[in-house]
């Protein structure tokens, strides 16, 4: 996979999501109690009823429903790398049913808060976060889905 100006794509944060056509966040699941963790938890379980130290890496659900949403009207401070000129972008907190957790992320370009609603179904896609001299950094974003 490479961009129009032949820069390769790379994950903005390595190991946090798969890079294929149907991308998914990579978390862990506790072998004992079944709690999911994102970002990955591998040393100790945060469930107060569980003393497990064993975890299995799992792909989290790619689809969920919007818990809430907003946008960034102003350029966030570093380490965020902003386009010039800065373009406001939407942000969604998404409820994953199976994992029973909420995950934050940007919403894909071209979709604003007026297009969103609590409960709206969304799916996870990859989109550029910013460019470096070497590559284009991709991250997970939420995109309204058909069903």
């Amino acid at each position: 996979m490479s961009s129009s100006d032949n820069k390769p794509y790379a994950a903005a944060i390595e190991g946090w999501h798969t890079m294929g056509a149907k991308p998914a966040l990579i978390g862990t699941q506790c072998d004992e109690c079944g709690s999911y963790f994102f970002p990955k938890q591998t040393q100790y379980c945060k469930n107060p009823q569980c003393e497990s130290t064993d975890f299995t890496e799992v792909e989290l659900s790619r689809r969920g429903h919007i818990w809430s949403y907003t946008n960034a009207g102003y350029k966030p401070p570093t380490p965020f790398v902003a386009d010039d000129p800065f373009e406001p972008f939407a942000i969604a907190a998404v409820q994953l049913e199976k994992e029973q957790m909420v995950v934050l992320g940007q919403v894909v370009k071209g979709v604003g808060v007026d297009d969103l609603k609590v409960g709206l179904p969304v799916e996870l896609v990859l989109e550029p976060l910013h460019e470096t001299d070497e590559d284009i950094k991709l991250t997970w974003k939420w995109q309204p889905s058909e069903c």
């Binding site: 079944g34 970002p39 009207g73 102003y74 401070p77 380490p79 942000i91 957790m101 995950v103």
Partner: protein
């Protein structure tokens, strides 16, 4: 009740962007509280400070820094850090000392000097730090406040006009508070004309950061009676409980909540759990509360807090606001100090400033801001990393 302590004195350095050393604000607040209490500095045997993380080593040992500035006199000293709940944790340390019989009178003090401009996290590539990750992805503090605000709009039908009305209410009452930083009366039009920061929140919906200092002189009930102040306002409860796994609401600086998928695990909302212990400890209920000081980091968050404190059923705080019930003269006035909207946040001082306001209100000394017949006040605040507090003051 046996676990009560008396509030003999309250003092504050006015909030602002003064740019002085934080110790100066702490000393001014402490001196005012001492004078208010009528207690000589030499009688204070425990100094409990809220730490500031923004002022170097003297800030980490704020209790000692302020004690030294007031003049070392051989008292014991403590410094607490619990983000926005630092002041409450410092108050809890003083209460423990007093109830254990190890001291009769304590000074509790918090002060802060905030840097100019945006407080950005350390640089580099540090994905193990959730604070770095969220800023890298473009998620700032107002993002979280806006997520909560938008959820209220979609679930309960709150409107932008409701949020603006919180600002208008707080700026009106705050204009009468000489210790507040912002004392201009704003209109709904002013709010609507301010820049959109994180939809639906505009610049004027979100609180600023300020310099300030607040202090309390607290004592055993016995000491209070001894100096003829047996009917002083009392600290009836302090709750500084942690959240319970699993978190239901995504909190700053996290990118995700806990998972509630495991057997026997339920999702819990942290804010709502904070006053539960406070009510239990004080042996009272929300129906007994005369006024509340809550942490309005955003206008919409004030409405969340009203429900978290059980002063309104979930989703009905805006109805209370629209009826004027949360304004001065209403059924349950909220943030009659002017709140963070008029003060701006001075982290280690803020939770104490809330208690100062309750103290003056319960003594009937709040002047133009006085809540008639105030008998029970409650505070609530929440900060980073599972810190939060709720304090009940009664008279």
């Amino acid at each position: 009740m046996s676990n009560e302590i008396a509030i003999l004195g309250a003092g504050m350095h006015p909030w602002g962007k003064w740019g002085h050393n934080f110790v100066q604000y702490g000393v001014a607040a402490a001196r005012e509280a001492l004078a208010d209490a009528g207690v000589p500095w030499q009688d204070v045997k425990f100094i409990s400070g809220g730490a500031t993380m923004r002022c170097g080593y003297p800030g980490y040992v704020a209790g000692a820094s302020i004690a030294q500035a007031l003049g070392w006199q051989g008292a014991e000293v403590n410094t607490s850090y619990a983000a926005c709940a630092s002041g409450s944790q410092a108050l809890a340390a003083a209460r423990n000392k007093i109830l254990a019989g190890e001291c009769e009178v304590a000074l509790v003090v918090g002060a802060d000097t905030t840097p100019k401009g945006f407080l950005a996290p350390a640089g580099g590539y540090r994905p193990e730090d959730p604070d770095w990750v969220r800023f890298y992805l473009g998620i700032t503090n107002p993002t979280y406040f806006a997520l909560y605000a938008r959820r209220r709009m979609d679930l309960y039908g709150d409107t932008l006009e409701d949020f603006a009305a919180v600002k208008v209410k707080n700026s009106l009452i705050g204009s009468k508070n000489p210790r507040a930083r912002y004392r201009k009366c704003f209109t709904a039009e002013d709010v609507a004309a301010s820049a959109m920061v994180a939809d639906p929140l505009r610049l004027m919906d979100i609180c600023a950061t300020s310099d300030g200092g607040a202090a309390l002189i607290v004592s055993s009930m016995e000491y209070a009676r001894k100096i003829g102040k047996g009917n002083a306002p009392r600290v009836a409860a302090i709750s500084t409980v942690t959240p319970t796994f699993a978190s239901e609401v995504v909190e700053m600086p996290d990118i995700a909540t806990d998972s509630a998928a495991a057997m026997g695990v339920e999702a819990h909302a942290y804010r709502a759990s904070l006053p539960v212990k406070a009510y239990e400890e004080a042996g009272i209920g929300p129906e007994d509360v005369s006024l509340a000081e809550v942490y309005d980091l955003s206008t919409a968050l004030e409405l969340d807090w009203i429900e978290d404190l059980q002063l309104a059923p979930r989703g009905e705080a805006a109805a209370l606001l629209r009826a004027g019930d949360t304004a001065l003269g209403g059924k349950i006035p909220v943030n009659v100090s002017g709140g963070l909207a008029c003060f701006g946040e001075a982290v280690p001082a803020q939770a104490l400033a809330q208690v100062c306001e309750l103290t003056w209100q319960l003594r009937g000394q709040a002047g133009d801001r006085q809540v008639e017949g105030a008998k029970v006040g409650i505070t609530a605040n929440q900060g980073l990393f599972g810190h939060g507090s709720s304090v009940i003051v009664t008279r």
